[in-house]
Amino acid sequence: MSQRIRVTELYKTLLHLGKDWPKGYDFFRKRLHGAFMKNKDEKDPEKIEKMIAHGQYIIKELETLYMLKKYRTLKRRYYKDQ
């Protein structure tokens, strides 16, 4: 798959994850857009590769963050004495 397609896919995946962001989708979308626009002129394939890898890392972090947030909320609500 071309790097270009992978970057747009990464952006779409991150946007999707942003829907659950605690401070709201708009907040997340603006930051995300800014982060991608900041590097829009990058031409070096190796550097782009590193950025994609970083994006993948952020995806994993977000998934873990949401999972933990949900688990903790439930634990607080239903398992008070433990």
């Binding site: 779409k12 995946t13 999707h16 994850l17 605690p22 998934e63 949401y66 999972m67 947030k69 949900k70 688990y71 909320t73 439930l74 634990k75 609500r77 239903y78 398992y79």
Partner: protein, 232 residues
């Protein structure tokens, strides 16, 4: 291949601040974010893992949407849901029914138990570990003050507790793929289930707000206040 039926409920998202309707008949649901009941996510994950382990399929294969109209939904109770689930379990020839132990909106915690009763199947509620054996399943249950291990024959009804597994996040590509999977639409009437309400909601109220504290100038004033309140 074991056929697993998983019950899933749509509830107000866990992160939303719940507001009571001004007429006290329920809570506001319009325009509020909804998502899958977290305990049901755990049930789905367990079913998916079971299927994955046997390498027969990936994820859930088929969805059945039981449509309930707005007014019926407000008075829909576990007794109705369990009759619906029992009927589907029989129609689909399920070997195992897994549901979340309770939904985070009404916290009834009755559906699994009632479904097992309607089907006359064994039940393993509050599961925190499920293992498949030759004769059936071994389930570790979360009970008051500890854990209990039970064995039961299949078919059975299991309800998932919080620590059964860690549900995976539904990724965007998987959601797109899932759109191609079949969803069968049914109504309670199709299944021959009567959803007439058995209970009446008298009033829904906000939990009491914490009362403001007072700052006292010295210990004597505090002792005076405590005596006044009858605490000492």
């Amino acid at each position: 291949m074991a056929r697993v039926l998983v019950g899933v409920k749509r509830v107000i998202d866990y992160a939303v601040k719940i507001r009571v309707k001004p007429d006290k008949t329920g809570v506001l649901t319009e325009g509020v974010k909804h998502s899958m009941n977290p305990f049901d996510e755990i049930a789905v994950e367990e079913a998916a893992q079971d299927v994955l382990r046997t390498a027969l399929a990936m994820g859930v294969d088929k969805g059945i949407h039981v449509e309930v109209s707005g007014s019926d939904y407000e008075t829909l109770q576990p007794i109705h849901v369990s009759k619906i689930l029992a009927k589907i379990a029989q129609n689909e020839k399920a070997d195992l029914v897994i549901v979340g132990k309770q939904a985070i909106d009404d916290d009834s915690n009755q559906t699994a138990q009632m479904t097992a009763a309607v089907l006359d199947w064994p039940q393993a509620t509050y599961a925190s570990k499920i293992e498949k054996g030759d004769k059936g399943i071994t389930v570790l249950r979360e009970v008051d003050g500890g854990l209990e291990t039970i064995q039961c024959k299949l078919p059975a009804v299991v309800s998932a507790d919080l620590r059964l597994n860690e549900p995976r996040y539904a990724t965007l590509p998987n959601i797109m793929k899932a759109k191609k999977k079949p969803i069968q639409k049914l109504t309670p009437k199709d299944l021959g289930v009567d959803v007439t309400p058995r209970i009446q909601i008298v009033s829904v109220e906000d939990p009491p707000t914490r009362q403001a504290g007072v700052i006292l100038p010295d210990v004597d004033a505090l002792v005076g206040k405590l005596k006044e309140g009858g605490h000492i």
